[in-house]
């Protein structure tokens, strides 16, 4: 996995959000963190689809927590970023930094 894998923008954001909240969280918390930090509205459907896809790519792992006793609660699914995920994030970041090097967007806009 790793080699040649390129993360989409939203995938990056989801991974980062998960890491920000302590690399352990379920969908709701990831969504809230994403929305709060990016300042853009985020839907739970998008977050979950991305989490699932990242898990397919083995960049995340998930497990289920026993349901809470009250409210006929369901079991909830926790996610965490795996080492492979961290690695791809780092690689992607490095790629972006190399591309950004020497580029000043402010100047381009003004001219």
């Amino acid at each position: 996995m790793g080699k040649g894998a390129f993360l989409g923008e939203f995938e990056q954001l989801v991974l980062l959000a998960l890491l920000r909240i302590g690399n352990e969280g379920y969908g709701m918390v990831v969504r809230q963190e994403l929305e709060a930090t990016t300042g853009r509205p985020v839907t739970i459907g998008a977050v979950y689809a991305t989490l699932a896809r990242l898990e397919d790519k083995k960049l995340l792992s998930s497990w289920r927590v026993a349901p809470e006793p009250h409210r006929g609660g369901r079991s909830r699914r926790f996610f965490r970023v795996e080492d492979a995920g961290r690695a791809v994030l780092a690689e992607t970041r490095g790629m972006m930094e190399r591309m950004w090097d020497g580029v000043d967007v402010a100047d381009e806009v003004r001219s």
């Binding site: 709701m28 839907t43 459907g45 998008a46 979950y48 699932a52 409210r71 369901r74």
Partner: protein, 880 residues
């Protein structure tokens, strides 16, 4: 926890349907969790629900966009299934292109016609008038015109209106801008255009002081007129023209987007309000009064206010205004008053188009049913591989929806093309016909119609196909026994329904045709053959300023025309039957007691010259016609029609020699003769009481219609007629040279158009219905081919087999026809308003149409039946 509001159920279900099965519970769990724990406490019930919906819709959108990227089978959500079904649908069309093309074409036809008709209905009846706050605009005395004096009184006295104004149609010659030309326009009160919310594109509108005689020589032009006559030059504002002989200043130009209340109006002038000019101000009811309700005033409240003023008027001058006039005062919405005549006809056509669409649906449903049968094997295999009945049904429904959408898209394109090319062909006099276009509402209608028809024709075949028993079809090599009678039931039902609808359409068309026949044959009271008319308008120069000069000109003109080669007689009149509007006035017959509470009677009036009556073929019934003895200074003489004679004096004979007072005393004449009634308006309307005066005694009209009757069998050339006028004065414009026949025909044009349309629909319905029956029969024969073979082998004669096969079609056809007649009987009552001379349950139509349709149905079943009878049993058995 009690008290926590439940998450919106519909949103939950929606999301559940879209999400892939694997993640469904998790996502919804997280969503509900956040909703209950975070959002509701923070934002409260309504904002929280809003948040929930946003989450659901956003997630659905995400899945719609991203869903295709995940190729894993287990991730498949609703959108992936949809994509798959659509691809499958196109593939199955490819396997049976003829069937698909026929279905799509049928749907396109149905949707196209319905959409086109709806566009017209929308533009004319449904769309609000193109003025700001158009719902506030009303017409007072919706079917009457008022005198200028009464209008002014209303303006002063009535409460509840923010504005009351009036308009009078006018025609004036424009000279000084190239060739003299005649313009149609409107004389209006100063605030009339601002009331309609018009802002001039250039220049200004009128001021209130411009109604005073001598001050009002200003005019505002329409955009089209400005471009046509002034080439769109900016310098037009402030320039002067000769309009109606008066030097008039152009002060403004209206924008092209303005829709005048009188279609085709080219100019607007301030209405002359001069209380001292008795006959113009009080004597003639010529003003159409419109108003704008003040905000907060309801129509009933306004009605009451108007009624109060009307009653006050009546008390003041009880001779002039009766109860009928007062009762007629109730204002109606302006929109309603403009479209009320076309409304009924348009809704009927819409209904007919709707029926046609239903028939198209039934046809396609039949096709689908037939096709589903031939796909048994394919469906059985899918079921065997694990597809649920619901899945199969869904896929078939998707197919029919895709077909419907294709047909709908083509149909909309068809409608757009038809509207573009046929906008010139819309019936004359259809109000607001410029508003007919494919706007948002029309497209929404087309979309809704498409979806509805897709469901209608697709649902039943889909449900049926999904309930097939796969075992039966997988085990047998080929079906050797015909399918159960049950299987054909749906087909028969659809065909029966089609035929019923076709019967209704055909009966509707039949009634209209008969009605048209009656109208065309109606006695107009004139003999229109060999008659040519033209209009001559004397320019307002000093040459024709005096009454005697005008009388002299027209007198010489009629004599000159009578001497022209080929002419038998010539006359002139101020109005032409079926062409111009009538002006009426109150009258009183001398020596007749009019009870105080009765409305005073009205009569129309005209001024004539020369051989007016004989040229039009109106016979004299008693007394004499107007002639040269009725000179300018002599006693006023009048000829009345039979209707007025009977109304005023009880009989034609009794009228001669009696006196009548008109215009509330403005005219007082002796009845010298009585003529037969003639139609003044379109055929289908009763003729009004009418009085005729001699032009020599009432020469104030500068414009007259000349009526020229040719010797039987000859035609008089238009050029000869014009030459006759120009011989007397080459500067006099001659307009509208037309045969009288054309005018009579044009008067019934709207009705004819409407009938043609309905007849077209009826024919289409017939064609579609026949196709449906033919299809059903073919299909039935194919299905039962072995059965017929066996019967034949067992000794049944060809006739018996044919009879058997035809009976197959006969039953649904007969039931369909019967049902159709019943439906038609229930529905034609609604057409009563548009029928003329024909009962809504006309026995001839109701008897003939079913017989014809039954005959067609049986004919359509004949061919397949013959095929059934020609089956060679031996070949059939050996091929099995």
């Amino acid at each position: 926890m009690s008290g926590t509001p439940r998450s919106p159920r519909m949103a939950t279900l929606l999301l559940r349907w879209v999400l892939p099965a694997a993640d469904r519970d998790d996502v919804l769990g997280e969503l509900d969790r956040e909703y209950e724990e975070c959002v509701v406490p923070a934002r409260g019930g309504t904002a929280a629900r809003f948040w929930y919906w946003r989450q659901v819709l956003g997630s659905i959108l995400w899945h719609a966009r991203q869903g295709g990227r995940d190729r894993r089978a287990r991730r498949r959500g609703a959108f992936d299934r949809l994509r798959l079904d659509v691809r499958f649908a196109f593939r199955s069309f490819g396997r049976a292109p003829g069937f698909a093309a026929l279905s799509v074409a049928t749907i396109a036809l149905g949707i196209g016609i319905s959409t086109a008709v709806f566009s017209v209905l929308n533009g004319v009846v449904l769309r609000p008038l193109p003025y700001p706050d158009a719902h506030e605009l009303v017409r007072l005395w919706p079917n009457w015109n008022l005198s200028k004096g009464v209008m002014v009184q209303l303006v002063d006295d009535v409460d509840g209106f923010s504005a009351i104004h009036g308009h009078v149609a006018a025609r004036e010659t424009l000279t000084g801008q190239g060739e003299p030309t005649e313009l149609y326009g409107v004389n209006v009160t100063p605030g009339y255009l601002p009331m309609l919310g018009v802002v001039p594109a250039r220049g200004r509108l009128f001021g209130p002081d411009e109604t005073v005689p001598g001050r009002g020589d200003v005019v505002v032009l329409s955009e089209g007129t400005w471009r046509r006559l002034f080439g769109g030059a900016e310098s037009v504002i402030g320039s002067t023209v000769e309009l109606g002989g008066k030097t008039t200043t152009v002060v403004g130009v209206l924008p092209a987007t303005f829709r005048p209340l009188i279609e085709g109006a080219e100019f607007w002038r301030p209405m002359r309000l001069d209380p001292d000019d008795f006959s113009d101000y009080h004597g003639i009811a010529q003003v159409t009064v419109v108003g704008r309700l003040s905000s907060g005033t309801t129509l009933p409240a306004a009605s009451a206010a108007v009624l109060a003023v009307a009653n006050a008027q009546r008390e003041e001058s009880p001779d002039s205004y009766g109860e009928e006039w007062v009762a007629a005062s109730a204002p109606v919405s302006l929109h309603h008053s403009l479209v009320s005549t076309s409304r009924g006809a348009l809704w009927t056509v819409m209904g007919a188009a709707g029926f046609l669409l239903l028939i198209a649906c039934a046809n396609v449903a039949n096709l689908l049913l037939a096709r589903a049968e031939s796909r048994h094997r394919e469906i059985a295999i899918r079921v065997g591989l694990g597809a649920s009945a619901g899945r199969v049904a869904r896929q078939l429904l998707t197919e029919s929806t895709v077909m419907g959408m294709l047909g709908g898209a083509i149909g909309i394109g068809l409608a757009a093309a038809v509207l573009r090319s046929a906008s010139a062909a819309l019936p004359p006099g259809l109000p607001l016909s410029e508003s007919v276009a494919l706007d948002a509402r029309v497209v929404a209608f087309a979309l809704a119609a498409t979806l509805l028809t897709s469901v209608l024709f697709g649902l039943i075949p889909a449900l049926r196909a999904s309930r097939l028993d796969p075992q039966r079809y997988l085990r047998e090599a080929s079906p050797s026994v015909s399918k159960s009678a049950n299987g054909m039931r749906m087909n028969r039902l659809f065909v029966g329904a089609e035929i019923a609808l076709a019967v209704v359409l055909a009966i509707g068309a039949g009634l209209m045709l008969r009605s048209l026949q009656e109208i065309v044959g109606v006695d107009t009271g004139i003999v229109a053959t060999d008659v040519t008319t033209m209009r001559v308008r004397l320019p307002a120069t000093s040459v024709y300023a005096g009454d005697s000069q005008r009388a002299d000109f027209f007198g010489r003109l009629t004599r000159r025309l009578a001497r022209t080669g080929g002419v038998r007689s010539a006359g002139a009149g101020t109005f032409l039957p079926m062409e111009s509007g009538l002006i009426s006035a109150v009258y009183e017959a001398e020596g007749v007691e009019y009870p105080p509470n009765q409305p005073p009677p009205h009569a129309a009036f005209q001024v004539v010259l020369g051989d007016y009556f004989s040229s039009l073929g109106i016979p004299l019934l008693a007394g004499r016609l107007l002639n040269a003895d009725d000179v300018a200074d002599g006693p006023t003489a009048g000829v009345i029609n039979a209707r007025l004679a009977e109304e005023a004096f009880g009989s034609v004979a009794a009228a001669v020699g009696k006196r009548i007072i008109m215009f509330g005393g403005g005219a007082d004449f002796e009845v010298v003769g009585v003529v037969a009634n003639s139609l003044q308006q379109a055929p289908g309307e009763a003729s009004a009481a009418e009085a005729f005066f001699s032009y020599r005694q009432a020469s104030w009209w500068p414009s007259m219609y000349l009526i020229v009757r040719a010797e039987p069998g000859t035609t008089v050339a238009a050029d000869d007629l014009r030459a006759a006028v120009w011989d007397l004065d080459p500067g006099v414009p001659v307009l509208d040279v037309r045969p009288m026949d054309d005018i009579v025909r044009r008067a019934s044009a709207g009705r004819r158009y409407f009938t043609l349309l309905l007849t077209g629909f009826g024919v289409l319905a017939l064609v579609l219905g026949s196709i449906g029956v033919y299809g059903l029969m073919s299909y039935a024969v194919n299905e039962r081919i072995y059965e017929f073979g066996i019967r034949s082998a067992l000794g049944a004669s060809r006739q018996r087999i044919m009879k058997h096969a035809v009976r197959e079609a006969a039953l649904p056809a007969i039931l369909g026809v019967a049902a159709g007649c019943g439906l038609a009987a229930a529905m034609t009552g609604a057409m009563r308003g548009t029928l003329y001379g024909v009962a809504a349950h006309d026995p001839l139509t109701f008897g003939l149409v079913p017989v014809v349709l039954l005959g067609v149905a049986l004919l359509a079943s004949y061919l397949p039946a013959r095929r059934a009878a020609a089956i060679d049993p031996k070949r059939l058995m050996s091929s099995e």
